[in-house]
Symmetry: C2
Subunit: 241 residues, 2 copies
């Protein structure tokens, strides 16, 4: 077996890997939907719809057809689209309510093992975000949830969205490490596959509750990742021994 | 007296304000100069010469005559120039020694009050770097010195060097705050003056030992800053009460 390159830094996907976006968004959306008299809409389905809806907008930016805009902006557009889909005119919500709902993405809870796992991993490796989330979003989330990042990197810093190869390569470059010295930690096979294609090492974290127990869209795309664990504390067991 | 805008985040100059670059560089350069048989060169004067020497290169980038390059690169060029000034051919130093010397900037010690002050300020405000230092430099320094930044912003993230107005404005934008809601904390009147001109609030930290007890180049450029303290713990006393 060939010797693995020594890992010098860990970059983390965040939504789904470190925090539970579905429960957090449902928690934020529930009371708003209730105030609108729309308790018929399941807040968890609303969260799923929101997450799904900004993928086409991300693709517009990735393709270069649209200049870079931050995720908060794409979240807002996707929310307005989702509201219209449910026959709710976004203009009937006041601006504070809209912004507060968009900021539900800033207030997501970590999975139970995340803070302990990150704290232990940080003793050995620099730990940075490599998320499509913007800086203010990641910073608000980290302060609220006590995520001890060494740096917030990712889309807004490199002005490019995953899974384009340059998003991974720019992060390695900013950390002054070779791509093979950087390990992406993610719950999504698609993200890991793109990172591997760019030359990074890969650590898969199984998060069976990300979609409320239903399989992830890319559940069948697994590969033989360098690491495969079911929590960040287990990753710390493997990487910090 | 007009009501001040509420501060929502603190951005810090780092070299001189949070860490003691002169002692750290002298500590790194001393043994190298000794090995070269050049104990006649005072390591502190060497540090002063190095710091002074990259200002023209910074100006080349600020003016747009040269595309953005990170500070590690400018540090290297300035070092080679300084060595030649002392009749030392940079090629006589092996690459590891050169890189290690450049990385002395990654291993600077904080002033005695910095970690405690930042830790207390962080309980109330997001604290970010707004330094001309690059990301890997700031990250290495923070891990070694236990500086608890919420995010590493500044030159490499905004692709622009202080004191250009956009360096301050881009930082406010990335934090999703208005310029007047962001306070720059710095030991240099010139930096603070540029931040104020861009609309930021300002906190001056007196660091009489930055130049080994001699006055700073901009010592006479003081203004009536919003805050003026002699340590980051004193700033925490003022801002966290």
């Amino acid at each position: 077996m060939p010797q693995r390159t020594r890992i010098k830094a860990l970059a983390f996907d965040v939504f789904g890997t470190v925090v539970d976006w579905r429960s957090g968004i449902a928690r934020g959306a529930g009371p708003v939907l209730a105030r609108l008299g729309r308790s018929d809409i399941d807040p968890h389905a609303f969260a799923d719809g929101w997450r799904r809806r900004y993928q086409p907008a991300l693709e517009e930016v990735r393709s270069g057809r649209r200049p870079f805009v931050i995720l908060d902006t794409l979240h807002r557009e996707a929310l307005e689209d989702l509201l219209r889909h449910h026959a709710i005119d976004p203009a009937t919500l006041d601006e504070d309510t809209l912004v507060d709902l968009i900021h539900a993405w800033h207030r997501l809870d970590p999975w139970p093992d995340s803070v302990d796992g990150l704290t232990r991993l940080k003793t050995r490796y620099p730990i940075v975000t490599l998320s499509n989330g913007n800086i203010a979003l990641m910073l608000d989330m980290a302060r609220r949830a006590h995520l001890p990042w060494d740096a917030i990197l990712g889309a807004e810093v490199s002005r490019i969205y995953k899974p384009l190869p340059e998003s991974y390569l720019a992060t390695a470059r900013m950390l002054a490490v070779e791509p093979a010295e950087l390990c992406l930690v993610a719950a999504h096979h698609s993200d890991l596959a793109a990172a591997r294609a760019a030359g990074l090492q890969t650590a898969y974290v199984d998060r069976p509750l990300e979609y409320g127990g239903r399989p992830a869209p890319d559940a069948d795309d697994g590969q033989d990742w360098e690491f495969s664990v079911d929590s960040l504390t287990r990753l710390a067991d493997e990487l910090c021994r």
